[in-house]
Subunit: 454 residues, 2 copies
């Protein structure tokens, strides 16, 4: 038979079983957390008509798109979960209730240049709240509080959610007489974390054509936290001169205040005026989330407030707020930095039953009873040497192995070996089942992330 | 703003929230069931190199494929989960333990002609057990027993798993002197359910060139159950004349016998010699599953034994057995036939809190406490009339609504309305939380399928 060399495409994550279990655990914890806040799950097609998906158009996105022709149809793979949400809400508007709160965890596609830690197929985990005509500011505080809970539930401790408000920035630029260049200035200062103040100053003055005094003023203001000045205090001096600024300031203060009410401790969020987000899309509150010990990784969870979700599809005004976790990249980073919890039970079974008799009837019946108790059980039915059977359990990290021979069957008993301690016990099936259930409870409860001790 | 009309591609399922919850519940129940039998979850890319995915080649498949070019790469979307599994096992062979038991629930793509109930993007839910060099026959009985449990857990009661063995058929054809045409005969008799005996007889004699006596003999044998003769009894008369037949007969008897040991009641499986499966791929046991009240729908879950999973990628001999549920089509059929359980709680939240004060602090704190108890809680923070707020809960079928006004807060109490009974109660938050937990336990426990009473 002519053979083809098996391979997986570069930029496409394919995990080994133990890692897959951890990844799935992370996704499951996110689903649970999102559900606790009243979000409903959605699942939209991966493929859409190009005309629909690219309604907004735009350079970078379009270059990265996976596009194909099938019959007469011009099709594209989704590059995020926001555009499909916009389509969904516009299309099914009359059958939805607003505010519409949905989460979606799904794969998206971007043909980026392949490099370590960059993916072309990757999961995003998104939550959004969409209003019909209006949406209360409270939602802008709730969203990051959900993210706080999510990361906590995953086991991540050292992170900071950074918030800002684009109205504050735009108002500030207007005050400084450079309101017409707000978009460019926003995109430039958004890079300050990566390229530093001096380079941003250079870009603002040389490329964007901002007067030196204004550029200096902007940089000093947005980096006031370097001087240990609370950004909200710093902003107070600009109040009462620009309507947009005042509105943004009020929103930012409200969000910060309610985040505390929502239970986000002060250690885990801060107002940071350097957060601008590159996208024009956002109109108010914006978020980024940084791992405290690894700022170099950039934001692991970002989003913000937008005034009009689906303007390309409908005249209805649909303001919203949302946030997105780049799950595949986050998982890659966590593994890379040694943040995955190896103590989590990733074995495919809790118990491996090794039948020592020719007839497997007893082993199968025992397995059925144990499954009814919620245990994950495999009966090993291959014809192998005893040693090879135990090695199989060992290699897969199956925590308990049951031996079932003539002896045990005739006495109505079961022998079990705890593969971690090596301890071996013989007792009734009911007692062994109870003991195993107790034994694995801890293993199952583990969180997928465990931060390394410094 | 120039607008594009939002639409979803034909043949791509996109569900409304209530239906999505039921679909997800089905998938979750399948995952749980598969896990209880020691299967590990896998997730492989949706896109593979065309060269890898189409290694086997083959007409129909290739015509239906979604294929695209990105840069220099010739790429294809997967059309099933078996080829990606073959690639995965060949690629990661040295890091896996055998027998390798995996499940995968994922989307696959086939550009079939659009028609009602046919999908181009659809979920398959697959389980496979792969051996390294050998695989015990027991696995061929375990697979349908898992499917039995799966459908039971979903709430489906009236179905029959039909099993056969291709060695029996091939041996029988050899005995009748038409062994060289086994493949053609197999594909023809596989259609007997759809087109009937007479048409199959015609096709066998006219098109395949089978002598009339042999064709008659084949049809009489495989449809012996019509004459109320047990297929295994009928087959006994052919024993001892053909080695392949004898092996197949022994396998079929063993599988049938062990299915009983695995707990599949006689009402839910039968040996049916007309099941052949069109694919050459299968080499022994084959399965189909029919809904008893809707045989016209065809098989909702099919599979079988194969001797060599990954011959296109590796010299290793990897025999296996697997089965696949076409989840999207099944869901469509269930909905179409009124088999979905409308009593299942599909609301995005268990409780909606309506704060009656300007400050939402108390409402938020109450929500946090209730979430810690596992309740799914939404705080309604939009500025709407009281009636509109209650209507929101009503439309979303949220079962409990909490009113939190000055009065309640000052007394340290909470008022709750059971939206089903209309009953309203005021008590401490702890008592209300307990009452709601009890109230939703039933709703949550419901199975996604409920067969209509005849």
């Amino acid at each position: 038979m002519e053979q083809v060399s098996p391979r997986t495409l570069s930029g496409f994550m394919e995990l080994l079983p133990e890692r897959q279990v951890l990844f799935d655990r992370m996704a499951e914890k996110l689903r649970e957390s999102f559900s606790l806040y009243g979000f409903t799950p959605l699942d939209t097609p991966l493929i859409e008509a190009s005309e629909v998906l690219l309604a907004k158009g735009g350079g970078e996105t379009e270059k990265q798109i996976y596009r194909l022709t099938k019959g007469d149809s011009d099709l594209s793979l989704r590059f995020d979960l926001t555009v499909p949400l916009a389509k969904y809400v516009a299309l099914h508007f009359s059958q939805l209730s607003f505010p519409f709160r949905r989460y979606q965890i799904g794969k998206v596609y971007r043909g980026e240049r392949a490099q370590r830690g960059r993916f072309r197929e990757f999961y995003q985990a998104d939550i959004d709240i969409i209003g019909d005509g209006a949406l209360n500011i409270i939602n802008e505080a709730e969203i990051p509080s959900i993210i706080y809970r999510c990361f906590n539930t995953l086991g991540l401790e050292k992170f900071v959610i950074r918030i800002n408000n684009r109205k504050v920035l735009t108002g500030l630029f207007q005050l400084l007489g450079i309101g017409d260049k707000a978009g460019d200035v926003m995109r430039t200062i958004d890079k300050i974390d990566k390229i530093g103040k001096d380079k941003v100053f250079e870009l603002l003055t040389d490329e964007t054509g901002i007067p030196e005094a204004a550029a200096r003023h902007i940089i000093d203001t947005i980096t006031c936290h370097d001087e240990r000045i609370a950004p909200l205090d710093k902003l107070r001096e600009f109040q009462g001169q620009n309507e947009l600024f005042d509105l943004g300031f009020q929103e930012l203060s409200t969000v910060a205040q309610y985040m505390t009410a929502f239970g986000v401790p002060e250690t885990h969020f801060k107002v940071d005026l350097t957060i601008a987000r590159g996208l024009d899309y956002y109109t108010g509150t914006v978020y980024e989330t940084t791992m405290t010990d690894h700022p170099e990784i950039g934001s692991i969870c970002s989003g913000g407030r937008y005034d009009n979700l689906a303007g390309y599809y409908t005249d209805k005004k649909l303001p919203g707020v949302g946030i997105s976790i780049g799950l595949t990249r986050l998982f890659f980073v966590l593994e890379d930095q040694g943040y995955l919890n190896d103590a989590v039970l990733t074995a495919p079974a809790d118990v491996l039953i090794l039948p020592m008799t020719e007839d497997l009837g007893q082993a199968i019946r025992l397995a059925t009873v144990m499954r009814q108790e919620g245990l994950r059980v495999q009966v090993f039915s291959e014809d192998k040497k005893f040693k090879a059977k135990v090695a199989y359990a060992d290699k897969l990290n199956i925590p308990f192995v049951i031996f079932l021979g003539e002896d045990e069957i005739s006495k109505g008993q079961v022998s079990v070996k705890n593969m971690t301690t090596g301890e071996q016990t013989t007792a009734s099936a009911a007692m062994i089942t109870a003991a195993i259930k107790a034994g694995i409870a801890n293993l199952r409860a583990g969180m997928p992330i465990k931060e390394p001790k410094k």
